[in-house]
């Protein structure tokens, strides 16, 4: 299904590129020894370097370099052994230096790619143009005083990775999948916590539109600082529709920076950013080129965990999962590890079904995450064993699972305590069946007369009579031989 906007003059294609700012996980800042911890008292985590006092010089944090390289490797990207820091000049109260130390012409990471897992189970590849290291700005607070803004520099100088995609996406859903996948990878490798609500991952969206069939790109607009996956998708729809209207009215879309207002569902121009693209970049004379050798890159490469794409492939091959189930399970390491612990030595597909359909649903309802699940992987595994060895049937297993979610109890103990063991005693089942048949002679005759669909009704009645504990296979077999003589 292709996403198109139907205008008055025809069908329009949307072209989307994303710039993600991901806060690097490190103890101290990119160029100073001040702490990066979130939520401290204002200006307590600021060095004189971050406050840009005269004469202070930046010194690069080795771990931030490693984190950028680690992320580059996870994005299958070209790692540049030599990169340059540049000054990006702009004037704003939360940027005490008057420039941001960033990378311009020679970033630390070059071209890479990201594979999107779409909801229908298919995959698409989006190109990564570059990843570079830069400083975060401070925080402005506009709501603390009627006429003044307050500035806290705790965040100023924290390392960011700016990750720029190619304009390869064509629908809002792809942009959502891109962000989810990028976040998943960053969390796997521990380079960014990916928390969009707290602002440790922020997204600028580049949107343009063109009539279906046109191959040239038209002028794009940049929608700044959209802070959730859902808002990114909404902002794209709103901005693309606006641009279609502009073109169709005979006007031209002009390149500008816009803001998305989620409450109104529309974007508006940011006048203050009119000069925003006049950054007058130049190499930062305070910093020498950043250089490292292939040994360094190899050491970082060896520290990488199994990545989501590789894990997904392995789950499909080793456990026979569908691509969709595999992609759901590998979203975060905790879920993947949990699934593997359950699937170990058992049927992979059954394990996946239980983890995805029963466990995830129950956890979401109870507000738990996989990490603090009341049902351990070992306990869920035991429950599957009880089913596999016919101690309980599938229906009872769901009841036992509900008890486990509520109490965290052991499945075997729950089955014993509540007498839920499956009835496999043929005599008992036969007695129940005979009683049901005797109570419903009319319906029994109908089955005998060829209305086999009614057999299901009889199975239900017998299950009810045995408190759901009868082995459904046995019930079926005996019923058939009783009613159809087969």
């Amino acid at each position: 299904m292709t996403y198109r906007i139907q205008g008055e003059t025809g069908s329009w294609e949307v072209v989307i590129g994303l710039e993600v700012h991901a806060q690097v996980i490190s103890a101290s800042k990119l160029f100073s020894g001040a702490s990066t911890t979130f939520g401290a008292e204002p200006n307590t985590q600021v060095s004189l370097v971050d406050a840009a006092l005269p004469g202070m010089l930046p010194v690069i944090n080795g771990v931030c370099v490693e984190q950028a390289v680690r992320t580059g490797l996870a994005l299958r990207a070209k790692i540049n052994h030599r990169s340059i820091f540049a000054r990006k000049n702009y004037f704003y109260a939360d940027l005490p230096q008057g420039y941001q130390i960033s990378q311009y012409e020679q970033p630390i990471v070059g071209e890479g790619k990201l594979v999107l897992d779409m909801p229908d189970g298919s995959s698409r590849t989006v190109g990564i143009e570059r990843l570079h290291l830069e400083q975060d700005a401070g925080k402005s607070m506009h709501d603390q005083h009627p006429t003044r803004s307050l500035i806290d520099l705790n965040r100023a100088g924290v390392a960011l990775m700016e990750i720029v995609s190619r304009p390869d996406m064509r629908e809002p859903e792809e942009a959502g999948a891109y962000l989810r996948k990028l976040r998943s990878i960053l969390r796997y490798i521990g380079t960014c916590d990916g928390n969009m609500e707290e602002g440790s991952m922020r997204c600028d969206v580049n949107v343009s539109v063109r009539p279906e069939g046109e191959t040239e790109l038209r002028t794009r607009c940049e929608v700044k600082n959209v802070n959730s996956v859902r808002f990114v998708m909404q902002a794209i729809e709103a901005e693309a529709s606006r641009q279609v209207q502009v073109w169709e009215s005979g006007a031209e879309v002009k390149q500008e920076t816009r803001l998305f207002d989620p409450s109104k569902g529309e974007t508006r121009s940011m006048r203050s950013k009119e000069h925003a693209h006049d950054y007058r970049y130049f190499p930062d004379p305070d910093l020498l080129p950043l250089e490292f050798d292939e040994d360094f890159v190899d050491r970082v490469r060896q520290s990488l965990p199994e990545l989501p794409d590789d894990k997904k492939e392995r789950f499909i091959t080793d456990y026979g999962l569908t691509p969709y189930d595999a992609s759901v399970l590998v979203v975060d390491r905790e879920s993947a590890d949990y699934f593997e612990a359950v699937a170990q030595g058992r049927d992979g597909k059954t394990a996946a079904n239980w983890v995805i359909n029963n466990l995830f649903g129950a956890l979401a309802k109870a507000g738990h995450s996989v990490a603090d699940s009341p049902v351990s992987a070992a306990a869920l595994g035991k429950l599957l064993d009880l089913m596999a060895s016919d101690v309980i049937n599938g229906r009872i297993a769901k009841d036992v699972f509900d008890v486990m979610i509520g109490t965290g109890g052991d499945p075997e103990a729950i089955v014993e305590e509540r007498g839920l063991r499956q009835v496999t005693d043929t005599g008992a089942i036969e007695a129940a069946i005979d009683a049901v048949i005797a109570a419903n002679p009319g319906k029994a005759d109908e089955v005998r007369g060829g209305k086999e669909k009614l057999l299901g009704w009889f199975v239900g009645q017998v299950m009810k009579a045995t408190g759901g504990k009868a082995n459904p296979g046995l019930v079926n077999d005996i019923l058939k031989s009783r009613l159809l003589g087969g």
Partner: protein, 95 residues
């Protein structure tokens, strides 16, 4: 390279310098003179010369990722023209 008055006004705005209109013309002349003088460098053949980003042939020194600084908000704010609740106070800047 010659700069005109409009370019000078724009550069002044970006640098937040207050250059009165009646000085812009003169400044344009002075800046153009400096740029023209620098442009003499264009006469040098740099065909096989790698771009230089720094004068010394040194590599960048790396720091360990440890917290060694911060924790002195009073020093950080010492030069602030105005402060409140541990923050710098500036004219309201908001969209």
């Amino acid at each position: 390279m010659a700069l005109d008055k409009t370019t000078v006004a724009n550069i002044a705005f970006l640098a937040r310098l207050d250059v009165p209109q009646d000085q812009q013309e003169a400044l344009a002349g002075e800046l153009s003179g400096i740029l023209t003088w620098i442009e003499q460098l264009g006469e040098v053949d740099t065909q096989d010369v790698a771009p230089m980003t720094c004068v010394a042939d040194l590599a960048l020194a790396w720091r360990e990722d440890v917290i060694t600084d911060g924790g002195y908000p009073a020093r950080v704010l010492a030069n602030a023209p105005e402060q409140l609740d541990g923050c710098y106070v500036v004219p309201k800047v908001v969209e």
